[in-house]
Symmetry: C2
DNA sequence: GTCTATAAAGCGATAGAC
DNA sequence: GTCTATCGCTTTATAGAC
């Protein structure tokens, strides 16, 4: 599990995020890590339900069937729990975005790739996205979470540059504003976290397809 | 945002004490005192900044230059403040929506009208929209705010019916999902409250125009 | 209409027993 | 690894003086 650059400068390594290498050891370190991972997942469910600020450490402890004080055996603070969730999300999505950009396909395919990646995170990173939307204003003013703003800036550059390239190549209409269009896309994707539930009529890629259809060609008949 | 600027003038609400003797304005239901209105506006600014739950009554009192206890001379509870803000917003937007629907224009014009109304509320109802987005999950489970869900359902029906009518008349493509499309539009408009600030490059109707352009015809060149 | 003063509950976090 | 017990602080809200 490589720790990519989204949160460099952190004093100590954190346990692996989801999808990482499985620990096979049966030592106490491995058990501790699994316990910790489990608690992070419980916290994530609650954050996804109502956001970070609105979730109390007592809520998390209740969910785990322990007392709130016991949580502090595993975590320094409530902040460090959400940090773990957010950093995992940002590391993953940034890496995926960069890969698509580096493939250097034409702007239409690149935009479609970015959109698909974004929709694909709705399910596995529901908590991070909810927190991002509900608690952004609070978190961005906390020194520890400065990496959020840095990552967002990098992401914006990727999208806006791609849209501009598409306009220069005559693929996208010249009379749309690249930054405004980026925001429209970004917001529409993330906000779906409020109502999207896997197992419904459409999965996240069906949602992405519908969105790409409307975004590229509009709802008008031609 | 400073204390006095929003309500310059501060006319005659003086002789009316409290304790029963209400001032009857011209009209029916006793105009709320201007002091009260001023306080609601201050609270709204704070709710718009960081949401309802994250705003404390002390924050509101500080902004007004009084102590938190003094607020309870004007309001029953923090809930009743946000209720006033939300009810005002919903009353206004529902009336405006209904008017557009009742004009019975063709679906394209009707959708454009609804979109313009929605964008038009971004500025005057910033607080209500922010609260709607940040605290919806919390508020909808409070009995007092059951009207929020009812209004939302009615709004959804208006949009979805209009989109379906447009499809039946051959104006909108048949391969888009009406409900999904409604959600896309709704979310994209409201989420703009996070970054839209009047006085920027585009006003809210410029934003609406850009959005309608993309939504009707897409970003592709044809 | 605002103040002083405070209640009752909840918050994040800590210390030390087991 | 969890519990008991609690600290210091903040929260919404109330009572009564002025």
């Amino acid at each position: 599990m490589t720790t990519t650059s989204a949160n460099s400068g952190r004093p100590r390594n954190r346990a692996t995020g989801e999808g990482g290498a499985r620990r096979r050891g049966k030592g106490s370190a491995a058990l501790a890590s699994e316990r910790r991972e489990h608690l992070v997942r419980l916290a994530a469910e609650l954050f996804a339900e109502k956001g970070y600020q609105a979730t109390t450490v007592r809520n998390i402890a209740d969910e785990a069937g322990i007392l709130s004080g016991s949580l502090y055996h595993h975590f320094d603070s409530k902040e460090s729990i959400v940090d773990e969730i957010l950093a995992g999300f940002f590391n993953e999505i940034m890496a995926a975005y960069r890969k698509v950009i580096d493939e250097g396909k034409d702007p239409r395919e690149t935009i479609a790739g970015l959109v698909r990646i974004a929709f694909g995170t709705l399910e596995p990173h529901r908590a991070a996205i909810t927190v991002m939307q509900n608690d952004w204003n609070h978190l961005k003013s906390v020194e520890r979470f400065a990496y959020l703003t840095r990552s967002e800036d990098e992401v914006e550059r990727m999208w806006v540059d791609t849209i501009k390239a598409g306009q220069e190549q005559g693929l996208f209409r010249p009379d749309i504003d690249p930054k405004l269009t980026y925001r429209m896309i970004r917001d529409t994707v993330w906000v779906a976290v409020r109502w999207f539930r896997p197992g419904g009529r459409l999965d996240s890629q069906g949602l992405a397809d519908h969105y790409l259809k409307v975004m590229f060609d509009g709802i008008n008949t031609h």
